[in-house]
Symmetry: C2
Subunit: 130 residues, 2 copies
DNA sequence: GGTTGAGCTTCCAGTAGCTGGAAGCCCTAT
DNA sequence: ATAGGGCTTCCAGCTACTGGAAGCTCAACC
């Protein structure tokens, strides 16, 4: 299968698929013309990575998850540890973003948004604690 | 004032302050020895940017906010538009992250996390919709 | 006066995860 | 034969810094 078909079936852009080969996530075969020839296994790996990325896992996490997926002697604890750690990072990020949202929402709400210069948003940013 | 003092007073790393000069957010004066000489105005601008960044504004937003801050003829509507747009992006990101968290939390919860290979996390990632 | 160490400078490279574009080969259809 | 689309590689750029090397400057100490 050529790259475009793989792209359509996995939903990943061709550029991304080439990139994933570059960094060693997959190693598709090559035809005599130099074209990549993707196997069903390549396809499954790409789809796996696509879903892991969709859940926000880093490429390095994806690499480790792929390896565990292919390792019949794995311990589910290892998988769980990766997911747990990632979950904690997401929760931290969520907290940070929620704080930003609260502050911003308050400021936006307070700002008249008219043609006068007075603006609580700028006032807040300019507050000097130096 | 030298860069380290500015770093301590604003909480921004020296590297970051130099970077902000590089990209034109500030233009501190120079002493005869070539050292940057920061004015109070530079300090306030850096603190302003620091707080805007803390609220997640992009550098380009910061640049625009700085310009509006320094423009007495501004309309608060322009400031509000930047903040509103940023707020919407944060809300979108929050939603995305919350979905990730929900899925991940469910998967992590379902995974035994022992020394057996069976793992609902991998099973979920490997689900073939191709 | 000399030396040492900290602080300052510039410049280059690297981070994450792609993405865009250029130059050029290959394949199929007309 | 030629036109087009698809494939290839390679290089550059995106965000917002950050690390490190090489080298100048300054203040302090002997």
């Amino acid at each position: 299968m050529n790259i475009k078909d793989v792209s359509e079936r996995t939903g990943l852009p061709s550029k991304t698929i080439r990139y994933y080969e570059d960094i060693g996530l997959i190693t598709p075969a090559r035809g005599e013309n130099g074209y990549r020839k993707f196997s069903e296994s390549d396809l499954h790996k790409l789809a796996f990575v696509g879903r892991a990325r969709h859940l926000g896992f880093s490429i390095e996490d994806c690499r480790n998850l792929l390896a565990l997926w292919g390792d019949n002697g794995r311990s589910s604890a290892d998988v769980r540890a990766i997911a747990q750690s990632h979950l904690e990072q997401i929760e931290a990020k969520l907290k940070e973003l929620a704080e930003m949202r609260d502050t911003l929402a308050r400021l936006v709400h307070c700002c008249a948004g008219d043609n006068r210069p007075d603006c609580p948003i700028l006032e807040d940013l300019a507050q000097t604690h130096i």
